[in-house]
């Protein structure tokens, strides 16, 4: 259980270790994109952790990084093809950030630091916890950005249309800068500061 919960808060990949930033900031202008990206990462992380942990005694030490990358890249390809087939508009708005899951340092980091040393069950739990922590961080950032930047919350996609909650006055006069890259970096800065201070208190 501890293996599972540490990824969600104490070792949260985005806020505590500051890994996997590129997708965390690039796709968070809409809540639905953040959810989609989060689930993609959870899937890849759990599968790659499971496989690497099962193969950990067979992969020679000298080539372990390329071997891990191949495992990760295969699952990323699976996610990309599935998303294009079943959630085409999500796939279009995430764009090149789906194939870029392969260079998300969170995944290679967990393979190297955890799955290569632990059994399959623990590795799956670790993957789930870390993935969930990543997803929650993305949702938190995207909530702030979408509410302030567009005055709405996009929840999920139904066929061709996106289901949205519109927030009256903010929707008419949004603070556009939060939807742009500049706003993302600023929101991330304040989140990081908030997180650091909560961690310091709880110690």
């Amino acid at each position: 259980m501890k293996v599972f919960t540490k990824g969600v808060f104490r070792e949260n990949p985005v806020f505590a270790i500051v890994l996997g930033l590129c997708p965390a900031l690039a796709v968070t202008s809409m809540v639905w994109n953040a959810i989609g990206m989060g689930f993609g990462v959870i899937f890849v992380l759990v599968c790659s952790n499971l496989f690497i942990s099962l193969l950990r005694n067979y992969i020679p030490d000298e080539v372990h990084i390329p071997a891990y990358i191949v495992v990760i890249a295969s699952f990323v390809t699976v996610v990309e093809l599935l998303m294009k087939a079943y959630l085409p508009s999500l796939a279009a708005s995430l764009g090149i950030f789906i194939p870029l899951i392969v260079v998300n340092c969170v995944i290679l980091g967990r393979a190297e630091a955890f799955a290569s040393k632990n059994g399959p069950l623990d590795s799956v739990l670790d993957g789930l916890g870390m993935g969930l922590g990543f997803t929650l961080a993305l949702i938190a950032i995207s909530l702030v950005r979408e509410v302030l930047g567009a005055g709405q919350i996009t929840l999920f996609e139904q066929g061709e249309t996106l289901v949205r909650i519109k927030l009256g006055a903010l929707n008419d006069n949004p603070i556009r800068v939060f939807a742009f890259p500049a706003g993302a970096l600023i929101v991330m800065g304040y989140f990081k500061s908030l997180f650091d201070n909560i961690m310091k208190r709880s110690k």
Binding site: V18, L21, C105, G189
Partner: protein, 201 residues
């Protein structure tokens, strides 16, 4: 004039208008991690430019001459990452053997570049989204690298100054770096498509 304008257009687009870090969010990890002093920022910037130029060239050739004719586009993720990883290894060995001085300057940054999403991101962008020609792709890779260098160099200068300025206690370290980067990105918003239009018509 046409060719010249195109070259200027690509340079301005990738260095300023769609700067890899500040508008496309590629390569943020080294941007925050390695920007604590200017010396390492310059080293990282040049190493990225170097690898990015070569990587866009090789991945372009691989994609358009091998994967597309064979109908294997879905293998692009696996093949690109392997090309980039092995390219980084080769560059490291080559530089180590032929130019020890350059190796001392770039050496420690080279292995980090494999997981730098800017390299992979630009490689995917030019073949998949923009569908550029080989020459334009290499030029785009080079200009994106220069854009990375410009951004990380500016950032390291800001962070060196922040060391001696007053920063609220809660924001010290990474948070203030993010906020400064945000303000910098806001300044870069002034470079937009309209500027490019005025420049090259």
């Amino acid at each position: 004039m046409g060719v010249f304008a195109e070259i200027i257009g690509i340079l301005v687009t990738y260095v300023l208008v769609s700067n890899v870090i500040l508008t496309q969010f590629l390569g943020l990890c080294p941007f925050i991690g390695v920007s604590k002093n200017s010396e390492s920022a310059i080293g990282m910037g040049f190493a990225v430019t170097f690898v990015m130029t070569l990587a866009t060239m090789f991945t372009w050739m691989l994609y358009n001459w091998l994967l597309v004719p064979a109908g294997l586009e879905f293998l692009k993720v696996i093949s690109f990452i392997l090309v980039i990883a092995s390219l980084v290894q080769f560059v490291e060995m080559f530089v180590k053997k032929n130019s020890p001085a350059l190796y001392r300057a770039l050496g420690i940054y080279l292995p980090l570049i494999t997981t730098n999403c800017a390299v992979m991101g630009i490689a995917l962008l030019v073949v998949e989204v923009e569908k550029m020609s080989l020459f334009n792709s290499v030029l785009a890779g080079f200009s994106a690298g220069i854009g990375f260098l410009v951004a990380i160099l500016l950032m390291s200068a800001i962070r060196e100054q922040l060391e001696i300025e007053f920063v609220p206690k809660g924001l010290k370290g990474a948070p203030i770096a993010f906020i400064s980067a945000g303000l910098m990105a806001m300044a870069f918003m002034a470079f937009d498509k309209a500027l490019l239009m005025n420049l090259v018509g």
